[in-house]
Each structure stands twice: as C-alpha cells, then as structure tokens.
C-alpha cells in the first residue's frame, strides 16, 4: 500500500485560484497522517483528490498525478479510473454525517452493509464485517433504528462504520469526529490507529491538535493550497510561524514553549506523556507560585430557571428527568455525551418545546405565557446547522431579518446588523450571498443574525464545529464581550479546551439529568464524573494532574504563570 502524489494542481470550475498548488508527497504502509491548516487551505480538496472525486466529480482544471498502490499490489492513477474503482481501495469519510447516509436504507445495519452489497461481497462476509464495524464504533444498540432518527454524533459513528466495513486499504477521514463527545472521538482515533498496525494507511484531517499530535506519524501542514511542511508532529509543532498559517500547537506544546522547555533534540514535546516527562513538579523542577485565589464570590441575578423539568418525545422514553437548574449572568457550558438531552434542554429554555412537567422562568416570569416569537428578542438561540435558517441572498439582509421581526426600524436593524457582522469579522462580506460562503463562515453569519437582535441570553449549540483556530478566537471574543455587557451566554459543546478558555460555569449532563454543576475549575477536577459522562478533562488539566500539581490550571497561559515562569 502506498500513495504517491506528484505535482498535484487543481482549480475548481469558476474559481480563479488554485485549490491545490503543486503538491507532492509519498505515504508509506501503516502510516497515520494528520492534515492540518486553516479553513480554505485545501484539506478537504486534497481528501477528495485521493479518492478521485477531484477531478471526476467536480471537474475543473487538474494537473499532476495521484498514484495509489493497493494491498494486491495494483497501482492505479486516480484521475484515469472511475471513482467506483478507486473506492474499492480508498475509503472517504467526510464531515457532515447527515449527507453521508445513502438515504435509501431503513436501518443502521442495512446502511452499513450498503457499500459491501455494491461490491458483491458474499452475504456471510457482509454480516461478519457489519457486526465487526458496529462493535468497533459502539453502535450495536442502534442496529435496527432508522439512521435518520439518530443524533448527529451517532450518525457520525454510522458513517464511519459504513466506510470501515468496506475494509479499504487507505482510509481518508475529513474531520470525522466533529460532533462526537470527547470519549467517542478518542475511541474513533484509537480504532483507526489500530488499523494502521495491519499496514492500512490513515489520513486524518482534524482541528484537534492534541489528537493529531498523539496519533500521527507525520503531519501535513497546508496553507492556501500549498504543502508548507510534511514532517513529524514534533518538528511541525515546534515551528514558530504556525500562527501565520492559522493553526495552533497542542496545549502541551504551548506550555513548554512558554516555559522554554525543549526535548534533548531541541524540539518541543507534543504529547501529554512527552511534556509530562520533561516537566517535573516539585524539587529541582517547576515550583508553583502561590495561588492567587479570586476573592469574594460575586452574587449573580437569576436569569433562567428550570423547576422540576421533565420531558419526553414518546411516553416511556424520558429525555429529561426532574431537572432543577438556575442560570445566571455567568458564562455557562453544558457538556455531556451525545444524546444526553442537552439540545432538548435549551430548546425548552427557548420555548420551542413545552415541558411535560415542570416550569421554566425567564427573569422570574413563567415562559409558558409567551409565544416563541415574542421570546425571541430576549433569548437568542443559534442552531447547530446554519443551513436551517439562511434564506436571504445577501448576508446583510439575512442578519437584518431577526431585528426587523422583533420590531426594530429599518435603520436601527441595519446598524445592529452591521455591528454584529463587525463582531464576527464579516463586515467585508455584507453584500455576499451566504450560499457562496463556506460552512464555517455561514455559521458565523448565523451567530451574527442572532447577535443583531441583542438578546439578554445567547444560547449557542456547538458553535465551534467546522471552525479553525481563527474562527474559535472570534467566537471567544464575542463571548467575552457579551459577558462584559452583562449578557448571559450558554453553550452546548464537546470542545473541552474551549470550555476552559471562556466559560465560568460548567454543567455536566448525563442521561437527562445534571451530574455535576459548578465553577468550571471545580467540575474539571472531577475526573471520575467526567469519565462517567463520556467526557474528558481539558488537556492542560490532564497535564497538571499528571504532574501532581495541587492546583488545576485550565489554560497553558495560566499554567505557565502558575509554574512561576
């Protein structure tokens, strides 16, 4: 098994710039390759070029060669054979699980079997492989469910299982774990990593740098269609110009860079173990400066309150069980396993669903007396998928839609919309058609469209999906600004490092009830509770605990200061 790419160039039809610009590399059997770069750097295009969708499906201008050698020692040039031939050797999992399902199969089992049926594999073998894939992704329990009834994270598991069952020699995964809970995404990484032991090549596009660093043998750094560097994780993440390519180092590397700690070979460590081995806590090592505890706990006014909240879609299948919760001015993250009931909870807060039992109060008032539309100006909710709301032909009109609905005048709505676009750094795109923008930008448009309505409470459902380092920075700055203005920001999220960066309070949700609730620092100290909820500690916290630190540091910055830089 081998991949050999020489001088690959590609331009999408109707585009003036090259999406891939003179890329050459070789990948050897059993390698786990990480692909990093900011949005628009050509990562997804490269994935599609390896399966032959570029150029066969997308057309456009193509140059260079992609040669694939499969396990039976056949070498094919992907531009010269149909995709249906290439895909017997190369499997592709892409980001949006919803569109990866065939849409013609009624059960998870049949969905996973579909590709195998097309290849005419014997029935016994199909049953064996499907079982194996279901087990590997831990979705055996859903085998008879309709794939479209599953949550995003579970759907993503089905999509991955469907490709793994085809036993490709080369697996290309384009952000396959964006919607999975932390443990789920760790399981996927570990599962594909095991496959490399048999000689299979894994190519993984990811924004989760700690995972890339942990599992990759080599990392590809792409920028504006060019291959900037292709080397070991240590070498790539030791570069001092990463920021200009829109990527960031793993948290461990960030800390070591701040402390100036390098490995004997002069490179920075990239994994928990390597950093842990380098940094020693206590005598002769790092000394912890006296902790500066924040003084008096300020009092916060109640904003949203749930009393004995119970909810189910179908009788006998409870989603929420007697939830009592008071949300205040603090930024609050709601975390938990896929399907724990997080989205259901915020939909109830927003009045989109009616509680089966219990009551919800907004600033002391029972919300059941208001319609959803009349609550809109007070509680803003940004849906996970921006495509569910975008319908105007210009970004500005789209963002003005909400403000106009809640009774703002044209002029005021425009001002608010422009302000909101400024916040999401899309002012230059005001007249663009949102459908011409990428998913990450469309998501920012959706956030702006709610911000422009100036709500007291902003609820974000998985805001960081599809966002690169820069996008996350933008969202962070918005959250800080709203906090300073006395607004409440609530988010549902699987990105633990993002939680530690900007959320004061964290609520752990599991199986429809609150498992832990408190200041983020305290909640993340509860390793056991997090494990039960299929979560994990933020990377810096993991390192601090491994070093035996008395304090829990949440960010590399904080840890560097705490360790007496």
């Amino acid at each position: 098994m081998e991949i050999k790419v020489t001088k690959l160039k590609y331009r999408y039809p109707q585009s003036k710039t090259l999406a891939l610009n003179d890329i050459s590399f070789e990948i050897h059997p059993g390698e786990f390759i990480g692909v990093i770069g900011e949005n628009g750097s050509g990562k997804s295009t490269l994935c599609q070029a390896l399966v032959g969708l570029v150029p066969h499906f997308y057309r456009g201008a193509y140059g260079g060669k992609v040669l694939i050698t499969n396990s039976s020692n056949q070498t094919i040039e992907v531009a010269k054979v149909p995709v249906s031939k290439t895909c017997t050797s190369v499997g592709l999992v892409f980001q949006n699980p919803f569109n990866q399902l065939t849409g013609a199969k009624e059960t998870v089992f049949e969905e996973v079997a579909y590709g195998l049926q097309n290849f005419g594999i014997s029935k016994e073998e199909i049953f064996r492989r499907v079982e194996e894939a279901l087990r590997l992704l831990d979705i055996e329990a859903y085998r008879d469910r309709n794939p479209f009834d599953l949550s995003g994270g579970q759907m993503q598991r089905v999509a991955i299982a469907s490709i793994l069952a085809m036993h490709p020699d080369i697996i290309v995964l384009d952000e396959p774990t964006s919607q999975l809970d932390p443990q789920g995404s760790e399981e996927v990484f570990a599962a594909v990593d095991r496959l490399t032991k048999t000689g299979i090549i894994v190519i993984m596009v990811e924004h989760k740098m700690e995972k890339i660093a942990k599992y990759s043998d080599r990392v590809m750094l792409l920028h504006q269609g060019r291959l900037i560097d292709f080397d070991t994780p240590e070498k790539i993440f030791s570069r001092d110009d990463l920021e200009q390519y829109g990527v960031t180092e793993p948290a461990f590397t960030q800390l070591c860079k701040k402390l100036g700690k390098t490995l004997p070979n002069g490179l920075y460590p990239v994994t928990l173990e390597a950093a842990g081995g380098l940094l020693t806590y206590g005598e002769g090592g790092l000394a912890e400066s006296e902790a500066k505890e924040t003084a008096l706990k300020p009092q916060y006014a109640e904003v949203l309150k749930a009393e004995h909240l119970t909810f189910h879609y179908t009788e006998g299948v409870p989603i929420l069980k007697d939830v009592n919760l008071t949300l205040d001015g603090r930024t609050t993250a709601i975390i938990g396993q896929n399907g724990a009931g997080k989205t259901t909870l915020v939909k109830l807060f927003k009045g989109l669903l009616k509680p089966v039992e219990g009551k919800i109060f907004f600033q002391g008032e029972d919300i059941s007396k208001h319609t959803v539309a009349s609550l809109a100006s007070k509680v803003g909710f940004v849906f996970q998928n921006p495509n569910d709301q975008i319908f105007k032909t210009s970004v500005l009109d789209e963002v003005m839609f909400g403000p106009l609905n809640i009774g703002m005048r044209q002029q005021e709505a425009k001002e608010k919309a422009l302000e909101a676009l400024e916040l999401v750094k899309l002012s230059d795109y005001a007249q663009e058609n949102p459908y011409d923008m990428g998913l990450s930008q469309r998501k920012l448009v959706a956030i702006a469209s709610i911000l422009a309505m100036n709500p007291q409470v902003l609820i974000l459902d998985e805001p960081t999906i599809a966002q690169d380092y820069k996008g996350k920075e933008i969202i962070q700055s918005i959250i800080r600004k709203l906090r300073a203005e006395g607004k409440t920001v609530i988010t549902i999220i699987h990105d633990m490092d993002f939680v530690e960066e900007c959320f004061e309070r964290t609520i752990v949700f599991a199986k429809g009830s609150v498992l832990a609730d408190g200041p983020t620092r305290e909640v993340f100290a509860e390793k056991e509770i997090l494990r039960k909820a299929y979560l994990e500690q933020p990377h810096m916290t993991q390192l601090c605990q491994a070093l035996g630190s008395r304090r829990i540091y949440l960010t590399p910055q904080e840890a560097a200061e705490g360790f007496g830089q």
């Binding site: 919803f98 013609a104 989109l352 319609t371 009349s374 839609f401 709610i450 309505m453």
Partner: protein
C-alpha cells in the same frame, strides 16, 4: 421518524408472502372479473381479499379508506342511477326522484370494480415492505438506480418533514410568527421554504458523492441481504392466480352470446 410507508410488520400470513406473489394476486384478481364480464364474478376476488385482510389483521387499517371508497361509490350510484344516458327502465322512486335499472347496473359494475381493486391492493400494500419489493425487482433485472429512487422517496419525505420542523424552530427563534391569520402565514412562507429547498439542493450533491464512494456505480453483481429460497407457497399462489384467470376466460366463453 414517522414512515410514510403503509407497511405494517405484524408477522401475519400476508406479510410472509413474497412481494411478487402478492403482485400476481393483485393483477389476477383485478383482471379476472373484467375478463369474465359478469357482475357476480366480482364477488369471488372481493371475498378472498376480505378474508385475507381480516385473517392478517389488516382490515382495521383498510377501514378508513374503505369508507372513502364507499362514499365515492354512493355518489356514482346517485349520478348514474338518475342521470345515465342509457336509462330507460325505472327501478324505483325515492320521493320525486326516479332511479333507473340501466344506470344502477353501470354504477354496480363501477362500484364493484373499485372495491375489488381497493381490497386487493390493500392486501399488497399493507403487507409489503417497500424495500423488499425493490430488492426483488433489482433481482430480476430492474435498474438499481430506479430502485434507489423508489427507496429514497420513502426516506426523504419523512426526512424533509423533520427538516421543516427544525427550520420552523430556527426561524421562530428569530422572531418569525408562524401562527396566526392568513397574512402572517403567507409572510412566513418564504423564510420557511427557502432553507428547505436550498438544503435539499446542497444535500443532493453531497449525497451523490456519498453514493459514489460507497460503490453505487461499481457495476458489479450486487449481493442481496435477504435469503431467497423458492417457497412452496409461491407455486400454489401463482397456480391459483392462473386458475382464476383461466376460470374467467372459460366463464366468458360459456356466456358468449
């Protein structure tokens, strides 16, 4: 997800039969009375279908449609019985209105035809999983593309209903009133329908890719997951259907004038 398929999995006699056998039965039971050309000939297939439906606990599901069918037949009977051009022989009077024999016979023929077709189709539709039928069709050589289209319709309609729900929620969250008078609803139409259409277009492209990488176009001999053994019941059902048709032809011959 609420399926739009009318199929009920209840493990009954009809659900266990092969889709094609049931299709043969539909064809035979619809064709036979027309070939025989005699009104009494309709009662046999109607009777068989009814027994099958009741025996397989599907009659309840067919009941609402039966009521619709009967009201349709009633209308036909009134119109034909009173106004048919062939009307000559008065049959009975209902107040000032006269019903004629010729019209009533025409109405009876149409009505029995409707009932017959309806009950035999019910036997088929309520007891057959659409994807099983598609698989059997592909087995005998229908194009897999056609099969995909049929199957995806059954998935896409409920899927789109779900999407409309989410989109409605998203727009209500932005202060759009979706309930109220006609004007309010008309105003809400565009913000609700555009994302549905646009998402569908975007999804179509991605789904085409998804099918492509799963070997949809591989052109190899496809494996079917359901075991296909020749069932004894198949032989007897098809024999019965043939007998029904043959009987109809004979009946027609005997009554030829």
């Amino acid at each position: 997800m609420k399926s739009i398929s009318l199929y009920t999995q209840n493990g009954s006699f009809l659900t266990k039969l092969e889709p094609f056998d049931k299709l043969f039965y539909v064809l035979a039971s619809v064709a036979a009375p027309s070939i025989a050309g005699q009104l009494p000939a309709y009662f046999l297939p109607i009777g068989i279908s009814l027994v099958l439906l009741i025996h397989s606990r599907l009659f309840k599901k067919a009941l609402p449609m039966t009521v619709v069918g009967l009201s349709l037949i009633l209308t036909v009977w009134i119109v034909q019985g009173i106004f048919s051009q062939k009307n000559e022989t008065p049959l009975f009077h209902l107040g000032p209105v006269t019903f004629y024999q010729e019209g009533c016979l025409i109405a009876a023929r149409i009505g029995l035809n409707i009932l017959n077709m309806f009950f035999s189709f019910a036997c088929f539709v309520f007891s057959t999983r659409p994807s099983d039928l598609v698989e059997d069709m592909e087995r005998v050589g229908f194009s897999p593309k056609l099969g995909y289209v049929v199957n995806s319709v059954f998935q896409m309609v409920p899927q789109m209903t779900g999407a409309v729900g989410t989109i409605t929620d998203a727009q209500r969250s932005r202060g759009l009133e979706t309930e109220g008078n006609l004007l309010t609803r008309a105003k809400a139409f565009l913000p609700l329908i555009s994302p549905v259409v646009m998402s569908a277009l975007i999804n179509t492209r991605e789904r085409a890719i998804a099918l492509e990488v799963r070997g949809f176009d591989a052109g190899l001999q496809k494996t079917f997951l359901r075991e296909k053994t020749k069932k004894a019941s198949s032989f007897w059902i098809r024999l019965f259907c043939a007998a029904l048709l043959a009987g109809a032809v004979v009946w027609r011959g005997l009554t030829w004038k």
